[in-house]
Symmetry: C2
Subunit: 192 residues, 2 copies
DNA sequence: ATCATTCTACCTACTAGTAGGTAGAATGTC
DNA sequence: GACATTCTACCTACTAGTAGGTAGAATGAT
């Protein structure tokens, strides 16, 4: 097995474990037995657990960048909905929560390097959403009284909260509902 | 030192640790050294870590019940604001998050007994908020188009999200802002 | 083209430390 | 004396991380 596939397989597995059980809730052993390699091999690619944690967050940073780039010239309303759908897909049928929700909860028990990268990821998403709301207001699609950055934050709170609760109560409908609520109170045209 | 005070001191310390570092992020040793007793003494009061976790959640269940009872005959709008203020006070100056936010994130890595009690606590808060929104609508204080239980959930998502982000970015203003946003989009009278 | 060397990617075997948990003695309190 | 409480001393299981080795591919020198 080549390095590239093993390395990314490790990150992929870490990802699943972190989004299910949290940073403290998974071990190198869990990964090793999941993909049938030895623990030391993980340390070869990621010397410290912190390194793996950072790789996990940076991956989501990259994925989000790619996602925003792929998102063509849709209307602001469509982009808002697309964001919610993308976010909802992270739920993985009520088995996982979002990276932001996880790092935000475990924040104080994480190494400094992970904390910094977490801040960057959150800021990146907030930034993109702030610009979206701003543009939506200017182009008359979104309600004028909204404060762009507060609305962006509000969206993150709601979407990440809905994923968590959807998982606990095994109610995927909570995510869809959160989306509808957000669209309703951000967009001008009615859609309830 | 009597049992009662030691026992409640253990829970109090666990509480602080859990709300800062998460369920996986604290140990019996942390508590022992924090209040200068031996680890085994904690096991005397709480044989398993799960027992301590349940005590923690049940305490917040009781506290919430007491809080709702103490809350006199204020207007629905005032009760809504009081809820947000109470919730915001859990932030402890951006050092902690809320019990709901914590158990929701760590959910899958917690023992079954804690999971059940977590569900109950969340359901309890959701229930109270649902009734508040319902009453607020009937009495003409809240916007009629709101769905009571969805709005209740929305409130929990936003408040618990704001506590988490306030902690990460050391921005207590996020909590106040979340409160204002909720009041604005739930209550009829303007207040921005 | 051959051979020595270096590097990559993994391995086995181990360390020190910490986790939750237990047994039983010591201490206090009624 | 009886019982509750806290202690010392320990256990097993597991954690992140390290030491040292190996097969084989890549590189370089002649």
């Amino acid at each position: 097995m080549q390095t590239r596939s093993t390395k990314s397989l490790i990150v992929k597995t870490a990802e699943e474990l972190i989004l299910s059980y949290g940073y403290q809730g998974f071990s190198y052993n869990d990964i090793a037995s999941a993909i049938n390699i030895r623990k030391a091999s993980i340390h070869y690619h990621f010397p410290k657990k912190e390194d793996l944690g950072i790789a996990f967050i940076r991956k989501y940073s990259r994925l989000f960048s790619l996602w925003t780039k792929r998102l063509g010239t849709a209307s602001n309303r469509e982009r808002l909905i697309a964001f919610c759908r993308m976010y909802g897909s992270l739920s993985n049928n009520c088995t996982r929560i979002c990276p932001i929700g996880m790092v935000a909860a475990d924040y104080h028990s994480m190494p400094a390097g992970i904390q910094e990268h977490s801040q960057e990821l959150i800021a990146q998403v907030e930034q993109w959403l702030t610009e979206l709301v701003d543009k939506g207001k200017k182009e008359g699609e979104f309600r004028e009284y909204l404060r762009s950055s507060d609305t962006a934050r509000h969206m993150i709170y709601v979407m990440s909260g809905s994923l968590k609760m959807a998982r606990i109560f095994k109610e995927p409908g909570r995510i869809k509902r959160a989306e509808k609520d957000l669209v309703f109170h951000i967009c001008k045209e009615k859609e309830q």
